[in-house]
Amino acid sequence: MAPLADARARLTAWWTGTGAPPRSENGGGAIVLGHRRVYIMPSRLGLFFGAALLILLVGSINYALSLGFALTFLLTGMGLAGMVQTTRNLAQLQVRAARVEPVFAGESARFRLVLDNAAQYDRPEILLRHLDSAVQCRTDVAAGALAEAELAVPAARRGWLPLGRVMLETRFPIGLFRAWSYVRPESRCLVYPRPEPGALPPPAPSSQAGGARAHAQGSDDFSGLRAYQPADSPRHVAWKSAARSDDMLTKQFAGEAVAELWLDMAGLPASLGVEARLSRLAGWVLAAERGGALYGLRLGGTELAPGRGDSHRAACLEALALYEGGIP
């Protein structure tokens, strides 16, 4: 009796979708399209298919054609099997959001979704549609493989852009049915302000707004080590310590003459408005980074100490993207 009860419990769990997750070792944030989450309806072609079946059936009855019945019913069975296979093409598919690179406002946020097919069959022709923007893309997921789909969602404004709901749709294998499901992957894209190109402010000796200060740094006297930044010259990398550990370090020398630039929001005329000032600042960050300067950022209450390199640039742009404070 026990195996029977066990089987029944498992069947019930399967049907109601309350069973254990299909695979125990899931990465975080993966969404499994349980069969209860997959909806299915005949496509427009499927409606015509139904009408065609009806005509075939009436003809078979009228002329008493046994093989006419057989043909009609074979096609009906094909439609039913197609319906199940269309559902199958989505059911139990795992959807996971991959990391999204930040973009500037006006560009497209490239949301990447990883479709994980644990099944033994391939799942061709899966259409992903971003519901808010109607952006879509098509992908095929081979048996037991991963596929990546990219939704290029227009990023109009700075700040966090959440992905929101995505519809997965398929008409494979016969096009007579349309199966679809909705997912809301935990994914958001950081949108930097639209950078406005413009001349950098002149370096100033004091720590005043928009100024820059020359440090008495040279390449003669070794003064210490700091974390490696991609822009650093390979000649300055501390190769000995890099061989000992995983971290790359850059040697710093006193006497290196580098301009230190302060990009301050308060230095820009208030008449520009917040967004325009943020755009200007973003443009300055890019220009300063290109120019190899050490630059710092002051945004209302927050202040980022001067630095350079990709992570510093990213930190500055993030601060600009997420700026919410009022203007003094």
Binding site: W14, E25, N62, Y63, L67, G68, T76, G77, E125, G175
Partner: protein, 656 residues
């Protein structure tokens, strides 16, 4: 749905591989029609399909709608000129063939391609109007497979064609069980739902309600099957196999026609050998049902006419099976009313003077009807009349020319002459048409009666005895009855190939094929409302009405879809192998009296079990440790190897 429709995939232009599948499917369903179609129509359709292929290959432009419209109008005009109709069955099918080619040509998008697929299905079913044989069925199955592959190709244009073919065959394979359920359980009604076109059944052949010199011998050149017979016990001797059909009363000098018999009760035949059998009658578009003389029982809903014909209320337009009981060599039916006897003496004036003179000589020299009959039989036996399937054309006095000039003829000549002589001599007589004999298939023991077994014989009314069968052909050519047509005529005569004696091996092949065909006819084509009722009562539903049938059908289909769904997703509900091994471990220990308490974790449980089963304490601890590592350890330890090891350890666990 508030969301926008996606950029429809059906806007994609048709690719070469889609075209290949669509054209192949269309070609398969059009090919049988090409034999019936006027040559220009076949050519036109092939050209339209070829044009589409060329347009893809050379990326040239497709025709605009004006030339297409012109082709449609010209094609319809051509069909009308050919058949003088547009809406009949054959012209309708011909137009459908042409539209198939046209739709193929103007297919620009995926949606048009789907329309071609639907047209292919319609054309496939029209083939069954002409024949439902096994080869046709296989051909149409191939067409369906091709179209399904085309549909899959349209839905997955970037996938490898081989993978798409695999998907298509999977679809068809999965469709078969559902199709079977639908075929058996879908409530069948006897068609037609409305009037059919006039020419709907023109292709069917068989006996007609009249007999003129030449038309029966034409029929016997066909080896088409008239009906099949399955005897319950021993089959009667071949010479007694007279399958009675239309009875012909009226003669106009050339043609014999049926009389106007009334409905009657079936008289009970006396004596003779009782024979039980079932008949599977091919459709012949007439009302006659054929039975051995003399019938003792009527098929359900059949009528009996007072001249011994058995008829069905509707023309036989579908293969029909009925059970029969007959008495072979029964006593003749005794009574006949005066008007009928008068009708059985009527002859047209001014025909066949020599035959009349002969009959009057017989009458003058005889004491009664029986003696006249004896003289006639003697005449036919002694005259050495020849039997041939290719009789000479006869003129106005056909009986005279047959008896005295050509002296050769077919059974229609023999019976016609005999009945004429009898009537001229004052003995009531009539012509009976039907079939004589039949071929036993040694493979399944069934009899096959073909159109080539068509026969005509006579009945003579004798006072005190009744209608008595006389077969003038058998009197002159006795071999006809025992050995069949093939050995009764000269070797060079036109005979269906299969009936020629030297084709022994061919015949054996044919017997096997026919046995298969018979099963096909019986089980597949002969499945009708009655068979369905039988099946349902076998399933325990007596007198199932359509509602019960429909609910059974829906339940079966629902079960089919659920099972298919569960089967296709089965690998996702398989439990975790680690968990399964652990459960088996717990069961094994439970069997030794150490049942895991619900609150007990694996470590505590294993410790308790190790204490209680000291003989196996080491393996128990090892299993628990590995289970804990697999279940709760870092993900890296979940290796197939460890899982296999756990499983083996649980399996090998013994308590010595």
């Amino acid at each position: 749905m508030s969301t926008a429709q996606p950029a429809a995939p059906d806007q994609r232009p048709l690719a070469w591989r889609d075209f290949a599948l669509l054209a192949a499917g269309l070609a398969i369903v059009i090919a049988p029609h090409a034999l019936r179609a006027p040559w220009w129509l076949t050519l036109l359709t092939a050209a339209l399909i070829g044009w589409r292929g060329a347009a893809i290959a050379h990326r040239s432009l497709l025709p605009s709608s004006w030339p297409l419209l012109a082709i449609v109008v010209l094609g319809m005009l051509g069909v009308w000129l050919e058949y003088r109709a547009i809406f009949g069955r054959t012209p309708g099918i011909m137009l459908l063939v042409m539209f198939g080619g046209l739709k193929m040509l103007e297919s620009r998008s995926q949606r048009d391609a789907a329309a071609v697929v639907f047209l292919t299905w319609f054309l496939a079913i029209t083939n069954f109007l002409y024949t439902q044989s096994i080869p046709t069925a296989l051909g149409m199955l191939a067409a369906v497979a091709t179209t399904v592959a085309a549909l899959v190709g349209l839905a997955a244009p970037r996938r490898a064609p081989r993978a798409n073919l695999r998907t298509a065959s999977l679809l068809i394979g999965q469709a078969v069980p559902a199709a079977l359920v639908l075929f058996l359980l879908f409530p069948r009604v006897q068609g037609p739902l409305w009037g059919l076109p006039q020419d709907a059944y023109s292709a069917l052949s068989g006996l007609s309600d009249s007999m003129a010199p030449g038309n029966l011998s034409q029929l016997t050149l066909s080896d088409a099957i008239a009906f099949r017979v399955d005897f319950t016990g021993e089959a009667p001797a071949r010479r007694n196999l007279y399958w009675r059909g239309p009875v012909l009363w009226d003669f106009d000098g050339r043609t014999w026609r049926v009389g106007s018999p009334g409905l009657a009760d079936l008289p009970e035949p006396k004596n003779g050998q009782r024979v039980e059998y079932s008949v599977m009658l091919e459709p012949h578009n007439r009302n006659w049902l054929f039975a051995l003389e003399t019938a003792e029982l009527l098929p359900p809903r059949a009528r009996y006419l007072d001249d011994g014909q058995i008829i069905s209320p509707q023309p036989i337009r579908a293969r029909m099976r009925y059970d029969m009981v007959s008495r072979v060599e029964a006593d003749p039916v005794a009574d006949e009313d005066a008007p009928s006897l008068a009708r059985a003496l009527r002859l047209p004036q001014g025909f066949n003077p020599r035959a009349r003179a002969l009959a009057e000589r017989w009458r003058a020299s005889s004491a009664g009807d029986r003696q006249v009959l004896a003289r006639a039989i003697e005449h036919f036996r002694g005259e050495r009349l020849q039997y041939t399937t290719e009789p000479r054309l006869l003129g106005r006095d056909s009986v005279d020319e047959f008896l005295f000039d050509s002296r050769e003829g077919f059974c229609e000549h023999f019976s016609s002459a005999f009945v004429f002589l009898m009537r001229a001599a004052g003995v009531p007589a009539r012509v009976i048409t039907g079939y004589q004999g039949g071929d036993m298939n040694p493979v399944d023991g069934r009899f096959t009666v073909r159109q080539s077994d068509a026969h005509a014989w006579s009945e003579v009314y004798l006072v005190g005895r009744g209608w008595t069968r006389v077969d003038p052909t058998a009197l002159s050519v006795p071999r006809r009855l025992d050995e069949g047509l093939a050995r009764s005529v000269a070797a060079a005569a036109a005979l269906p190939l299969i009936l020629r004696p030297e084709m022994e091996w061919l015949r054996s092949l044919r017997y096997n094929w026919e046995a298969l065909t018979h099963q096909w006819n019986l089980l597949v084509l002969g499945y009708n409302p009655e068979r369905q009722r039988e099946l349902m009562s076998w399933l325990g539903m007596r007198d199932a009405d359509w509602l019960e049938l429909a609910s059974t059908l829906l339940a079966a289909l629902g079960a089919f879809v659920l099972l298919l769904f569960a089967w296709m997703l089965r690998r996702f509900v398989r439990p975790d192998p680690v968990q399964a091994a652990w459960r088996q471990f717990c069961r094994k220990l439970g069997a030794r009296g150490v049942t895991r308490a619900p609150h007990e974790g694996p470590r505590d449980y294993a410790e308790r079990a190790a204490r209680m089963l000291p003989s196996a304490q080491e393996p128990i601890r090892r299993v628990a440790a590995l289970y804990i590592a697999l279940r709760y350890g870092p993900a890296a330890s979940t290796q197939t190897q460890s899982v296999v090891q756990l499983r083996r350890m649980v399996k090998d666990l013994s308590f010595g």
